[in-house]
């Protein structure tokens, strides 16, 4: 089941497929609060609706996360981006790329889609201002041709947001 928009992507390995089926079953039993899985028959690409938590800058607003799984998930991290329009946030670029360490270098197979979602919501909730990252324009300009955020060299140096 390869996705139509990225035909070059390799299909899930057997072990990845089994793992994702278990994750999906677990999600359906107890979805993380604030998130809604958009039903699809594509196990390799999940679209998840996230609603901003009450009392935060994003209260009541709804955004969409797109999660693409590599062949060797969970040894390799999923690719997680916001679909357009991405929330205005100092760590979220206008093309939907998210600057969050656990999506890249600090990914561990011990994590799950659900734990990643909770981290992203937490990142939104702690935002002090609706702003783009300072280098948004330069970064987005350089991300031509639907480049994956996993190919970006990220710097993580803010422990406040």
């Amino acid at each position: 089941m390869t996705s139509s928009s990225s035909p070059s992507r390799k299909a899930l390995s057997k072990i990845a497929c089994n793992r994702l089926q278990k994750e999906l079953a677990e999600w359906q039993m107890s979805p993380p609060s604030g998130f809604k899985y958009r039903v699809s028959d594509n196990l390799q690409r999940w679209v998840i609706e996230v609603t901003g938590a009450a009392g935060t800058l994003y209260a009541g607003e709804t955004y969409q996360l797109q999660v693409d799984f590599p062949e060797h998930y969970p040894m390799e991290a999923p690719q997680v981006i916001f679909l357009n329009p991405a929330p205005m946030h100092p760590h979220i670029y206008s093309n939907g790329h998210i600057c969050l360490d656990i999506l890249y270098d600090s990914w561990s197979p011990a994590m799950t889609v659900s734990s990643v979602c909770i981290s992203i919501l937490s990142m939104l909730s702690s935002s002090p201002a609706k702003q783009r990252p300072q280098d948004n324009d330069r970064y987005v300009r350089n991300c031509r041709n639907g480049r994956s955020p996993k190919e970006t060299r990220w710097w993580f140096h803010d422990d406040k947001v």
């Binding site: 040894m75 360490d101 990142m123 300072q134 996993k150 060299r153 710097w155 140096h157």
Partner: protein, 408 residues
């Protein structure tokens, strides 16, 4: 309680014995920082590379990928042949050239790191880092991604995950024009050990060395009772993880792949394998990485289960909580292991490990010996026998890297 006292005594002993090591660790951290900074082409002033935080509930403390090749190259001194950024090599070499100074620092300030390390970075302290940390909170510099850089930098030929058995003389040859202390130590090692097996320096070398060494031991001894014993331990590790709140599907695949390997090295089954196949599997990315991840789960579970015991050492080295440490420095692939990880894995599985330290430390002028440390699993009430066991796994440690050693 007396067991707590014993544990405290144990930590003190580690600290006393291993000041040199701790200073190495600090130096390594410094090396990693230099390495990582080097990779930036940002025109901005360098930003602290390691502190990375994720909002709760997935706290993400310091995380620093290893510049393993740099460490290796520095261990090899002037022989550095690896394609390593110049700055890193020189930096490491310079640091290594003054071990005494570092020892003094380590000895005087144990646990009293004056560096506030506000960003949760490693325990290393260098002036430049603290300057950088002061910028960490600058909001507008808080995020940057560089899409111009291609992550897939050209790579030289890589060692297999686990290499072939080599005579110890290859190690001597490697250090031929290196430090006289190291040459002397290699000579001393040669009195007890006659071969070595190298592992790839990708941050997983401790686990891969352990994997191969342990499975090879079972293959050679066919020790069925040891297999039964470790299987029981593995069951306990599973329960530990479940008790800690890990969902079973996140770790079960990793556990079952290790158990498969364990059962395969026992002869007499349809699925039994020999030495050659064991080496092949250890080199197979899927099997090898899954087993590494199995060990990472076991290590993380043990550290968290005995958080009180591990906390003092972890907070001294990294300024992070036990859980943060596990999420950032144990569970992700490629994160290096040090004492904490080795103690935890050895205790959790009940397998003793000997580590021989090939470093530049020397006690007194003219009196060189190769330090070693035996990690003997904590005596378990139900099976005191294992604790008295002599280690059958011996690893060779060079700052930042582990290989397998074979006794004569």
């Amino acid at each position: 309680m007396s067991s707590t006292l014993i544990q405290i005594e144990r930590w003190r002993a580690y600290l006393r014995e291993n000041r040199a090591l701790i200073s190495h660790l600090r130096r390594d951290l410094g090396g990693r920082r230099r390495e990582k900074r080097k990779t930036s082409t940002e025109p901005n002033p360098p930003l602290p590379p390691s502190p990375s935080r994720t909002p709760e509930p997935e706290p993400n403390p310091p995380h620093a990928k290893l510049a393993r090749e740099a460490a290796d190259a520095s261990a090899a001194g002037a022989d550095a042949a690896a394609p390593v950024p110049e700055e890193a090599v020189m930096g490491e070499a310079a640091a290594a050239a003054a071990p005494e100074a570092l020892l003094v620092e380590g000895g005087g300030g144990e646990g009293m790191n004056p560096n506030p390390s506000g960003g949760g970075g490693g325990g290393g302290c260098s002036e430049s880092v603290s300057v950088e940390l002061s910028m960490g909170g600058d909001y507008y510099h808080s995020c940057c991604g560089d899409a111009d850089l291609d992550l897939r930098a050209p790579e030289g030929p890589k060692l297999p995950y686990v290499g072939d058995k080599e005579p110890l003389s290859t190690l001597a040859a490697e250090f031929q024009s290196g430090s006289p202390i190291l040459q002397e130590k290699i000579k001393l090692l040669g009195e007890q050990y006659d071969a070595l097996r190298r592992t790839r320096g990708d941050g997983n070398c401790f686990y891969r060395s352990f994997m191969f060494s342990y499975l090879e031991h079972i293959l050679e001894t066919q020790d069925k009772s040891e297999v039964d014993r470790i299987l029981k331990k593995i069951e306990q590790c599973k329960r530990t993880l479940v008790d800690l709140g890990y969902i079973e599907f996140t770790f079960e695949d990793f556990f079952s792949i290790f158990i498969d390997q364990l059962e395969s090295v026992l002869q007499g089954h349809e699925t039994s394998i020999g030495a050659e196949e064991l080496l092949e599997r250890t080199r197979d990315q899927m099997v090898s990485d899954y087993v590494v991840m199995f060990f990472r789960f076991v290590t993380s579970g043990e550290i968290q289960r005995r958080a009180e015991f591990f906390e003092p050492f972890i907070s001294g080295l990294t300024n992070s909580t036990v859980v943060q440490f596990c999420k950032a420095s144990v569970e992700p692939m490629g994160e290096e292991s040090d004492h904490v990880h080795i103690i935890a894995l050895s205790d959790a599985l009940g397998v003793p490990i000997r580590v021989m330290y090939l470093d530049r430390s020397s006690c007194d002028a003219g009196n060189i010996s190769v330090n070693h440390h035996d990690f003997i699993p904590e005596a378990n009430s139900s099976e005191g026998g294992a604790a008295a066991e002599k280690p059958y796994i011996t690893l060779l440690y060079r700052p930042g890297h582990y290989d397998i050693l074979y006794p004569k």
